[in-house]
Amino acid sequence: MSISTSRPFARAAMAVAGAAVLLTACGGGSESTSEGGASGGSGGEGDTTGVTATSIKIGTHMPLTGVAAPGYSEISPGVKAYFDYINEQGGINGRTIEYTVRDDTYNPTKTTEVVNQLVLDDKVFGVLQGLGTPTHSAVIDQLNEDKVPDLFASSGALAWDNPEKYPYTFGWQPDYEIEGKIIGKYIKENLPDAKVGLYLQGDDLGADGAKGLKQFISDQIVSEVTYTSGGTDVAPQIGKLKADGADLVVGFNTPTYTALSQLTARALSYKPEWFYSNVALDPNLVGTLLASFSKGAVTPEAGVALLNGNYTTKYFATVDQTDDPWVQLWDKIWKAKGNGKPLTNFNVYGMAGAYTFAQALTAAGQDVTREGIVKALEEKGSSFRGPAFAPFDYSATSHRGISGVKVVQVKDGGVEELTETQITNDGDAPITEGSDDTVAPPADGRPTL
């Protein structure tokens, strides 16, 4: 009985509320058509959000704080230094480049938030070098839905190369599968008797790398271990590699886990040869990490020395090559516009990617639009020449970035080149040898086509 009295009231309340919602909704309907999505000044020709007559605005998501910050937080200062430098020379096509960095702490949720902010609030033209596989995966759908250029993701995952599903997304660094293939081929030819153990991070980095490796050395692999990013103990993994008798360990992992693997192997008096993928081995960073993880038992210098003889790969000239003209250019830019700290390979990575963006912008011409820069990359991207050893594999059907690496060996904090540039594609495409594909850098740092 008590229920029956309450019902009409409730029903009336709901009806009133519902009607009110509908009314207000109708009221808003008319103005919403003018909103037209997130595009700012889209004319008939294409979307020019973020572009003015004298400037173009781009943004990125990077881990500036948190666990992934060491090393990676140095990328955006490099990019910023490069843009500041060329802005002073007049920018690209008369436009200066405004660069906004937002911290995502390597947390996919944060990435979504900050990319929303970049696209909807800052109204950037595009996103440049968004870092990380899990993080960037969180925003790739939305960016493509909004038709925002998503250029040169800082990760070698294969996912970025999918022009049909993600027409606005372009990779940049060599993907992990081709790196795996090239490492596999090198081992097959030069270390045929090695008993190989795989040391893999439990995500695309490890999986794609292993896929490439196994095309060549599946018969040499005696052990395979996977670790989960986040833990700090890899003793079980290293112990298994040792027990299985691996005398060459190939690692597709991140720098932190290079340092941990070295320390753990030392503790277990396990002395195999090591072959790390490019992302895993920056000698100076790993040296510093070794010093910090060992709580001073290893000095940074001794840490760097510990890495002597390790194999790895690279795809652009690194800071130790002081006579390389590109490194000299980066150094000049860093001295003029950097933050006063010594130039690192992460700074260089940022500048190299920023240089490719400057090329794309130049190629897109005076009337740059979001659609236009995608078209320019697809049509002209494969002819861009810059600091990278191998050409970009950009076309209407491929968005996968740099197509090859060199195999190198660590020597006194720097590296010694063991091969010419090895160029290949995913799947069973053959590996061909190319000569260095670099050209002399432009004096003012601004690319010409």
């Binding site: 008590s2 229920i3 808003g28 200062p77 937002r102 902010q117 995966s137």
Partner: protein
């Protein structure tokens, strides 16, 4: 074991003879009042969403996914006196349930997905709650902490099903065409409308629950275990029920979280998430639903606001990225010193004090007395 800070809920059990009729007559008018309030709030949100640009709308969507979790936690901690450092993990359960269902089962209505997320999270809550009911203070904190640390690891262990480190992509529900035409919502703002509707439903249900017999039992358990037991309340059962309700709310939050973020990945459900939920209830005011809403708003808006102020002051990107965590810490410390009851708790206390002094002047009886004494009204006989 009254570690929690006592705060007085808005309840006013209208006809206070709540014993035999399972609290129904008491619920009636309160429920109606809450329903009206929620409807008004939703109208306000709809108007707000109409006026805001898409970015602010997306931030409002984020507020919407925090509200159920924070509200659930504030009820658990503020009213039942149990602490949980593991609510981020319960959100993860809801988020992964949503992600798996949306991926594997085609054409499932979103409401069903949310209900499934609630169900699964409640089951997890039941198991955890059963263990939690036997634990107190730091032990309970430790056990739930283990949950926060352990659950994201499951996603990596069951990589085939849960997508490992990279997580599962979520295809959010599409807005129906009539809705888009009616509201001008885009696929992005649609989730803000849905999210707030769900958040308000959760608040509505919780607010009624708090004013029912169950809510009063929780408060009794929190304030004095022995007295509660003497009054015939089953302590363990009451605690477990509180935990399950709280977990169910986290399930709703997780489902919303996954669809707004479009991803369920272990990196989203770190310990930091659980701790920020706790921060939100402490800042907002323990046990207060309004406080939960305020806390959620702060969680979403304070960080970007501070970072932008930092950049505005000419700090480098890295420096201004560090401003937000710094200020968060300071705010929490200052708040604990100045207003330990949180924002809502402090304001409410001030109002209550003023009301009391006025009451003494103009001898008014009835509602207000009930409001001030609502907690102790457990012994009629």
């Amino acid at each position: 074991m009254s570690t929690a800070i006592t705060s007085t809920p808005t309840g006013r059990p209208a006809s206070s003879r709540s014993g035999g009729l399972k609290g129904l007559p008491g619920l009636r008018s309160t429920a109606l009042r809450h329903l009206l309030l929620m409807a008004l709030a939703y109208i306000g949100i709809v108007l707000l969403l109409q006026a805001l640009d898409p970015f602010r709308a997306s931030q409002l969507a984020s507020v919407a996914y925090f509200i159920p979790a924070v509200a659930g936690l504030t009820v658990l901690t503020g009213l039942n006196g149990q602490i949980s450092l593991g609510h981020g993990a319960l959100m993860a359960v809801g988020a992964y349930t949503t992600a798996v269902l949306l991926e594997r089962v085609e054409g499932l209505p979103f409401v069903v997905v949310v209900l499934a997320a609630v169900l699964v999270t409640s089951l997890v809550g039941l198991i955890v709650g059963a263990a939690a009911a036997r634990l107190h203070g730091p032990y309970l904190a430790g056990a739930t902490l283990a949950l926060a640390v352990g659950v994201p690891g499951l996603a990596i262990y069951f990589e085939e099903l849960l997508g490992g480190e990279q997580g599962l992509r979520v295809q959010p529900p599409q807005s129906p065409e009539w809705f888009e035409q009616l509201t001008g919502a885009t696929s992005r703002t649609f989730l803000a409308y849905v999210g707030w509707a769900l958040a308000l439903v959760v608040l509505f249900l919780l607010s009624n629950l708090l004013n029912s017999r169950v809510g009063r039992q929780w408060r009794a358990v929190r304030d004095d275990e022995v007295a509660a037991q003497l009054a015939g309340i089953d302590l363990g059962r009451s605690r477990v029920v509180a935990f399950v309700v709280s977990a169910a709310c986290a399930g709703v939050a997780g489902a919303l979280y996954a669809t707004v973020i479009r991803l369920a990945a272990p990196g989203s459900f770190t310990l930091v998430l659980s701790l920020s939920l706790l921060t939100a209830i402490v800042i907002g005011g323990l046990g207060s639903l309004l406080g939960a809403v305020i806390g959620s708003v702060l969680l979403v808006f304070l960080g970007p606001f501070l970072t932008d102020r930092g950049t505005g002051l000419g700090l480098s990107d890295i420096q201004s990225a560090n401003v937000a965590p710094l200020v968060y810490g300071l705010v929490l410390v200052v708040l604990m010193l100045v207003a330990p009851r949180g924002l809502v708790g402090t304001v409410r206390l001030k109002l209550l004090q003023r009301q009391m002094s006025r009451q003494r002047a103009t001898q008014r009886t009835g509602d207000q007395n009930a409001q001030a004494a609502g907690d102790q009204q457990q012994t009629p006989s």
